[in-house]
């Protein structure tokens, strides 16, 4: 029949037992909201990782020294090979070779000095990252100067003690917006460097990330002179000439380094990472995280779903007698099923919609330092599952009851 009639009966059924309807709705609401929020937290954190990695640029390679290949200690060919694997400034220079490495654009060796304290006019600051490098590092790392000037090749060759500081360092040392730090002399672990520029903010994108503006850049030569000594470099950044030549650049770099280090690809004492591989490693980590959160949320949705099943089963069972009455006065099977179907739809769709609302609103807040990003699939999935559960466990017992002979439904206690 007569959908409207069934809808009216269904609405009466819902409102006749307000408390039970509210609890059913609440069960679905919590399940759906939990899935949406937790998946959003997972997605948000992986988004944060991706964002911070994308600043590296897509066509850079990072070369690091590693412990060497499996055959490292048993290598033939002379004692010099048994030394600790090292990357040197010379390695970096060898990579700038238009003949052997046409795909390599800029190269920047990097040294890092650890636990550096900056002092100026009585103010002191513990520097997060103190990097010694070449001028090409700036463009490689997408760095620009907010105020002052960058150091240039002349500074590098002349081993001038000049420095570029991030805004966190500058603000700590001179106060205010830090711009007045330009031109000041600052002691880094006692060695005086002249600040010639302030780096443009990289920003700290979310609470649990380290401050990317707490850093100092200086010419590698000057840093080796004063803070780190003349040993190996921590890593070498290589920029391919374009995004398409990254793979070629990687091959060229490894050929040159294999030759210089007298190793083969199996015994290589260094590793090359491109931003792609870092990204995929980080992405897979955060995906695992998202899956874990999603699993927890799915369990809560499942528990909510079981609650809904329970209430729906009880509702229909305790109304078996009512179903019998309705059949006795001439209700068709479709009338009965329709009534409970609409009732289940009202409860589960309303609960699901409220859950989506709560989930989306809840995702606007920062949760444990992560800004959640609502994933559309989680909304669709959570809503769909909750509605399906509500429908199935509303319709199935109602269908069973409607199939009873009227007298059996009437006798049901």
């Amino acid at each position: 029949m007569r959908v409207w009639g069934s809808a009216v009966f269904a609405l009466r059924g819902v409102t006749a037992n307000t408390m039970r309807s509210v609890l059913t709705t609440l069960g679905i609401l919590i399940g759906v909201a939990a899935v949406i929020i937790l998946v959003a937290v997972g997605t948000g954190s992986s988004q944060a990782v991706k964002d911070s990695l994308s600043r590296l640029g897509s066509n850079t390679l990072t070369i690091r020294a590693s412990q060497g290949g499996t055959g490292g200690m048993a290598r033939t060919g002379g004692g010099s090979n048994t030394k600790q694997a090292q990357l040197t400034v010379e390695d970096a220079q060898a990579l700038i070779d238009a003949q052997e490495a046409p795909s390599v654009g800029r190269v920047a060796p990097v040294v890092t000095a650890s636990s550096v304290t900056a002092t100026a006019d009585g103010a002191s600051h513990s520097v997060g990252t103190f990097t010694g490098t070449t001028p090409s590092y700036l463009s490689l790392n997408d760095d620009t100067i907010r105020s002052g000037t960058a150091f240039v090749d002349a500074d590098y060759l002349a081993r001038r003690r000049v420095a570029l500081v991030g805004s966190t360092v500058a603000e700590d040392l001179v106060g205010g917006d830090g711009l007045s730090a330009v031109g000041k002399s600052v002691q880094f672990n006692g060695t005086t460097f002249k600040v010639i520029g302030i780096l443009t903010d990289k920003g700290s994108n979310s609470g649990n990330q380290s401050d990317q503006d707490d850093r100092v850049l200086a010419p590698l030569t000057a840093v080796q002179d004063t803070l780190t000594g003349y040993g190996s470099v921590s890593n070498i950044l290589v920029q391919a000439t374009s995004a398409e030549t990254v793979a070629a650049a990687e091959t060229e770099v490894s050929e040159i380094l294999d030759m210089r280090h007298e190793v083969t690809s199996d015994t290589a004492d260094y590793s090359i990472m491109n931003s792609e591989s870092i990204l995929s490693a980080a992405t897979s980590t955060s995906q695992t995280f998202t899956v874990l959160l999603g699993a927890v949320a799915a369990i809560s949705l499942l528990v909510g779903g079981i609650g809904v099943m329970n209430i729906m089963l009880v509702t229909v069972t305790e109304r078996t007698r009512e179903i019998g009455i309705r059949k006795a006065i001439g209700a068709q099977r479709s009338d009965i099923v329709g009534q409970f179907l609409i009732e289940a739809v009202l409860l589960s769709v309303f609960g699901g919609a409220m859950g989506v609302l709560v989930g989306i609103v809840g995702s606007r807040f920062t949760i444990v330092g992560v800004e959640p990003v609502v994933a559309p699939y989680s909304v669709v999935l959570a809503f769909g599952v909750s509605v399906a559960v509500g429908l199935f466990f509303g319709i199935y017992p109602a269908g069973r009851a409607a199939a009873l002979r009227p007298i059996d439904a009437l006798r049901y206690e």
Binding site: M1, R2, G5, R12, A16, R321, E322, G324, I325, R326, K327, A328, I329, G330, A331, Q332, R333, D335, R405, P406, I407, L410
Partner: protein
């Protein structure tokens, strides 16, 4: 020749199977003419309720044929049986069986709603049926706000609102005090006087005394069929159109 209102041939009903099988109705042949007022009496377990459920198409007999207004109910599917219950049979239960938390008016409207009668007409007819049982001023009351007698009268209004051929009542006064019993019985008398066929199950002689024909059952069989002189009614005046027309 007129078809009888009810015609039962060799109706049996067996519950359970094998050794535990119980024969609740053991072969009943019965013909009820239009406009008759029949009382079925018997101790509990005599099969009278089971017979009533068969008459009301709430249950199907194990064997035998049951014709309602000439229509063989055994040949009908679920959908047609529901239509038959809706249009041709009004059922009054001992425990009223009103839908809880639903007003008297809405309860009476229910069979009309299932019959597809719409909005305004439905309300008017339900209202008229409640007037008929003397509850015009109780339409918006919930069953829980009505006395037993009033609830039973709502149930009767619900049973007659579709103008059924047959009014079946299963111990309609069993749960009522004597005053309410009298009201309900008078109502049945009036309805019968208007030409409705009524079959009442009861174990009270007082109730049976008001009907024109008393069937006594024992062990699933009718052992006495007594027509009372002076209570016999003239055949019904109301239309006796074939049930088949409606159900088809």
């Amino acid at each position: 020749m007129n078809t009888p209102a009810l015609e039962l041939r060799g109706i049996t009903k067996v519950y359970g199977q094998g050794e535990t099988a119980v024969q609740a109705v053991a072969g009943v042949d019965l013909v009820v003419e239009h406009g008759e007022h029949v009382a079925v009496m018997g101790a509990s377990g005599s099969g009278k309720s089971t017979l009533m459920h068969v008459l009301g198409c709430l249950d199907t007999p194990t064997s035998g044929t049951y014709r309602l207004g000439g229509l063989d109910t055994g040949a009908l599917d679920d959908r047609r049986l529901a239509l038959l219950r809706n249009r041709r049979i009004g059922f009054v239960f001992q425990s009223f069986n009103l839908i809880p938390r639903t007003t008297a008016l809405a309860n009476v409207e229910l069979p009309l709603a299932y019959a597809g009668v719409r909005g305004k007409v439905r309300k008017e007819r339900a209202q008229a049926a409640l007037d008929r049982v003397g509850l015009a001023n109780r339409v918006d009351h919930l069953p829980s706000q009505l006395s037993g007698g009033q609830q039973q009268r709502v149930a009767i209004a619900r049973a007659i609102v579709t103008e059924p051929l047959l009014l079946l009542a299963d111990e309609p006064t069993g749960a009522l005090d004597s005053h309410s019993t009298e009201e309900v019985l008078q109502l049945f008398d009036q309805l019968n006087a208007e030409g409705r066929t009524i079959v009442v199950i009861t174990h009270e002689e007082e109730v049976a005394a008001r009907s024109g024909r008393v069937l006594r059952m024992f062990d699933g069989k009718v052992y006495q069929d007594e027509r009372r002189v002076g209570r016999a009614r003239t055949p019904a005046h109301r239309s006796q159109r074939d049930v088949g027309e409606v159900v088809r």
